[in-house]
């Protein structure tokens, strides 16, 4: 592809150098200070920085070598490089996006550990727009990234809130009484049970009293026409390992109607709480639509009055209890029978309904943010190559009265997770 961009053709070696990271100790346990990057991104924090400016980190060693951007001074350990501009007219955030558009992992110096050599990197060609255009391109892409990050932060907040509410109501028994006052602190009545003192009217039960426990299966892998790109969603624990999302609609691969009929796969309704029963135990997600799963799940289809959100938080806070009931030495697995028998407290329907009233809209917002992030990611990834090649041009204001040029990079807002 060639467009009349008028951009400067050069190589990364013409405009930048790669600087080695340095060995560092004791960064893993710290949670504050300057960010520390390795070949795959953020790995910890430390007191000192290696680069006193925001910048780009490029993986040096490892099968997967990423490209990362730090919006503040940072440290890089010795498995990675950081980019140091040779010319003043290089916007580092633009450089970051430009490098994201290159398959760094296909470059390999051929030593035992896959790695990127500096000379290979320096010879990569690049079309360099002027600094103003670089800045505008970077701004467009980063506003998308910022929104993605913000959505993640919102979801984290919502999750914490719902969890706090769950704990307050169902662990500390401070759910609102008839007068809307916290039950326990306002002298609510308690009864003796095997699980200790519980609020009057609640009972001790098992998971099977909250919903139907259902397993999954795998249609024969030998049969190619059992699998398809778009068919009936079929989810494995691996799919959940790759996402932090609370809601899921499908996994990497779907199954066909034929695959469905020729196996014991079970169709689970929307709102089913998926719970991985092995490898490992305890990935949890809520199905956004009808799904099926492989045998790595013991999912709970909540009874109507119980609600998906309640079951989701209940399972989440009981992962350890469930794990303890698992058997198997090398790979622990929880069986359907054991899952059904997990002891739980069953609140009154009234309290359950109130909880769902509050938490369901929170869940809907989380779902909206997750979906928005999928769209934003797609938009960004579709635009990225076109913006870098010049196929799509961003408008650049003609008025460049920036006395403080060259501007290397701008720090954008920081959303600390």
């Amino acid at each position: 592809m060639s467009f009349e961009t008028g951009w400067r053709k050069c190589t990364w070696g013409d405009i930048s150098t790669l600087e080695y990271g340095k060995a560092l100790r004791d960064y893993k346990d710290k949670t504050s200070g300057y960010p520390v990057y390795g070949t795959n991104g953020l790995i910890g924090y430390t007191e000192k920085y290696l680069s006193d400016k925001p910048g780009v980190i490029i993986g040096r060693k490892g099968a997967y070598r990423g490209v990362h951007y730090s919006n503040r001074p940072f440290f890089v350990i010795d498995t990675a490089y950081y980019l140091s501009p040779k010319i003043p007219q290089l916007n580092l955030r633009w450089a970051y996006y430009s490098l994201r558009n290159i398959d760094i992992n296909s470059m390999d110096s051929g030593s035992a550990i896959p790695s990127t050599s500096r000379s290979d990197f320096y010879s990569i060609e690049v079309d360099l727009p002027d600094i103003y255009e670089q800045q505008e391109i970077a701004n467009l892409l980063s506003v998308l990234d910022d929104k993605i990050e913000l959505n993640n932060a919102i979801n984290k907040n919502l999750e914490e809130m719902a969890q706090a509410l769950f704990n307050s109501w169902f662990v500390d028994f401070e759910f609102p009484n008839e007068n809307g006052e916290p039950y326990k602190s306002s002298g609510g009545e308690f009864e003796e049970s095997e699980l200790g003192l519980i609020p009057k009217g609640w009972k001790q039960g098992t998971i099977s009293e909250l919903g139907e426990v259902a397993g999954g299966a795998t249609p024969s892998k030998k049969n190619e026409d059992f699998y398809t790109v778009r068919g009936i969603p079929w989810i494995t624990p691996k799919d959940l390992s790759k996402t932090n999302n609370k809601y899921i609609s499908r996994g990497e691969i779907d199954i066909t109607q034929k695959g469905f009929s020729n196996s014991s796969v079970k169709l689970l309704p929307k709102g089913t709480v998926l719970f991985s029963s092995r490898a490992p135990i305890g990935y949890i997600a809520i199905a956004k639509n009808e799904v099926t799963t492989n045998q790595g799940f013991k999912s709970v289809i909540p009874f109507k009055h119980v609600g998906s959100e309640f079951v989701y938080y209940l399972l989440k806070s009981n992962v350890e209890t469930i794990e303890c009931r698992a058997s198997g030495s090398t790979f622990k697995e929880i069986s359907g029978t054991e899952m059904k028998r997990v002891p739980v407290l069953i609140p009154t329907e009234n309290v359950l309904a109130k909880f769902n009233e509050i938490v369901e809209p929170i869940g809907r917002l989380t779902q909206k943010c997750e979906e928005e992030n999928e769209d934003l990611t797609q938009i960004r990834d579709t635009l990225l190559p076109k913006l870098m090649s010049g196929e799509i041009r961003v408008p650049v204001e003609q008025d460049h009265n920036h006395p403080d040029l060259p501007k290397v990079a701008e720090s954008s807002a920081i959303y600390q997770p």
Partner: protein
């Protein structure tokens, strides 16, 4: 302390590493440990020799003087000074072999045990000489002996070899902290101590140490062991000899299942770390054996054969503590389930401890400790019949390097104290169930759980630590953050709209 640095282990290792060339780690181990052994006996001897020289009327060449002091008599040609003087000669290999032969001849307990192949051509004599030259520090004089320098170097070497050799190495090296925990728990003060798969003898050395620490007399313990691997068996002999422990390891190496060398033994204490889950133990040839009181163990896994062998070897008041893979606590194969249920019903299982993963050198396998007691209501202790103590120690220990975990002295004390308190040992304090850590469980409850012995089932989950942030404060913080995020969100939405509009995508 296994990892506490005594300063020169690393140096010693890199020195010994010089020898590594054409030989594999298993072979090289004997070369390195043999030299270490020679240096040790020689140091002890030479120190005594010097002392005797300065003593009027004493003859430094009088053999009995040494025997009386529990020091190996070392003939002239085996003394380190002699070897060192000849270190640069091409025939040094032969000289060392001769030294070994001479020591064996003078000390019958070592017969056939010491390595004697230093003369073989494959061993680089120049390097061998260099190693001897560098070996200048003392390991066997009184001061080093009191600090157990040799023990620590030995242990360090064994563990290094275990790491270097991979899986097979791990078969005979039980990590120090696990041995210490076993020993602290069953307290083998006096009596017959037996290890049916003793490897290089780590369990005994620790037991002896324990006795010493408690001012008991070494002679109070009689040591019995058996080991099937011939080289490991020799290593064990050396290991015991060096520490002056007179152990009965049988006349030769032998398979514990098929050639029990201690047929009539009833041990007061059994300590063991049987190899995990071995599948080719020849069980199909042993379907009828007196030891299988509780059922025939499956031919495909020796775990339950080990358990029953141990139960069989226990004296009427005996206590056993041993390491098994976690699967042993919950396996549901018919044969194993049957044996386990019978062991529980016979009230033999005293205590089960699950340990954290990564304790072993060569495998990440998480393991558990089984404790079997023949008499659960002995004099002086609480009647704990019909009860099993479960301890979940999975969260204990700390990482000593990237892949290895170790239990600290405090961890070990906490676990041992819990067991002792439960047994009713007054000095250990009052026993109490601790959620998430330990629970004393009636047999009926274990039966309800289908005889599954996994502690996690019984001890429950530790109470979640009270959130340091009160609910109201937390919600106030989160909602105000959310308000900001919502505002920021609208701002970003506008900006995205504007920017995408700028490249022709209005919406």
């Amino acid at each position: 302390m296994a990892t506490a640095n005594i300063g020169f282990e690393e140096k010693l290792w890199s020195m010994a590493d010089k020898l590594r060339g054409s030989m594999d780690a298993a072979e090289y181990k004997h070369v390195a440990l043999g030299l270490l052994f020679l240096k040790y006996v020689s140091d002890a001897f030479e120190e005594k020799y010097e002392a005797l020289k300065n003593e009027p009327y004493a003859d430094p060449e009088d053999r009995d003087e040494y025997v009386a002091a529990n020091i190996f008599w070392v003939p002239k040609e085996a003394r380190w000074s002699y070897i060192k003087d000849n270190a640069k000669k091409p025939e040094i290999g032969q000289l060392i072999d001769n030294a070994m032969i001479a020591i064996e001849k003078e000390n019958p307990t070592l017969k056939g045990v010491l390595p004697k192949d230093y003369a073989r051509p494959a061993l680089d004599k120049t390097r061998l000489g260099e190693v001897i030259d560098l070996f200048s520090f003392k390991v066997g004089d009184e001061e080093s002996r009191s600090k157990d320098v040799l023990g620590r170097v030995y242990e360090y070497f064994l563990s290094k070899f275990a790491s270097a050799e991979g899986k097979n190495g791990g078969e005979f090296y039980t990590p120090n902290s696990v041995v210490r925990l076993l020993v602290e728990m069953i307290q083998p003060f006096k009596g017959r101590v037996y290890d049916p798969c003793c490897g290089s003898g780590g369990m005994f050395v620790q037991s002896e140490k324990f006795v010493e620490e408690h001012q008991g007399r070494i002679g109070d313990i009689a040591v019995y062991g058996q080991e099937s691997n011939p080289t490991t068996w020799k290593l064990c002999k050396m290991n015991l000899a060096i520490r002056g422990i007179d152990g009965n390891l049988g006349e030769h190496h032998a398979d514990t299942f098929h050639n029990d060398l201690h047929k009539n033994l009833k041990a007061d204490y059994i300590l063991a770390n049987p190899p995990f889950n071995i599948s080719d133990w020849g069980g199909e040839r042993l379907t009828e054996d007196a030891r299988w009181t509780y059922g025939v163990p499956p031919a495909g896994n020796a775990n339950y054969a080990w358990i029953q062998h141990i139960v069989n070897k226990l004296a009427p008041s005996g206590v056993a503590g041993f390491v098994l893979a976690n699967g042993s606590m919950s396996t549901s194969t018919t044969a194993e389930f049957e044996i386990r249920s019978k062991l529980v019903n016979a009230d033999l299982v005293d205590c089960i401890v699950t340990l954290p993963g990564q304790l072993f050198y060569s495998t990440q396998i998480p393991v558990c400790l089984w404790f079997i007691a023949k008499n659960k209501a002995p004099k002086g202790l609480r009647d704990r019949r019909g009860e099993i103590l479960f301890i979940d120690a999975r969260k204990m220990g700390h990482m000593v390097d990237r892949t290895h975990r170790e239990l600290s002295t405090e961890d070990i004390r906490k676990i041992a104290d819990t067991y002792h308190a439960w047994r009713g040992q007054a000095e250990a304090g009052q026993y109490e169930d601790v959620k998430g850590f330990c629970k004393a469980v009636k047999l009926a409850e274990v039966q309800e759980h289908e005889y599954i012995l996994t502690p996690g089932r019984y001890v429950g989950i530790e109470d979640v630590e009270e959130d340091s942030e009160p609910f109201e404060d937390k919600m106030a913080r989160l909602t105000s953050e959310l308000a900001e995020q919502f505002a920021k969100s609208r701002q970003l939405e506008d900006e995205i709209r504007k920017r995408l509009g700028g490249i022709g995508f209005e919406f």
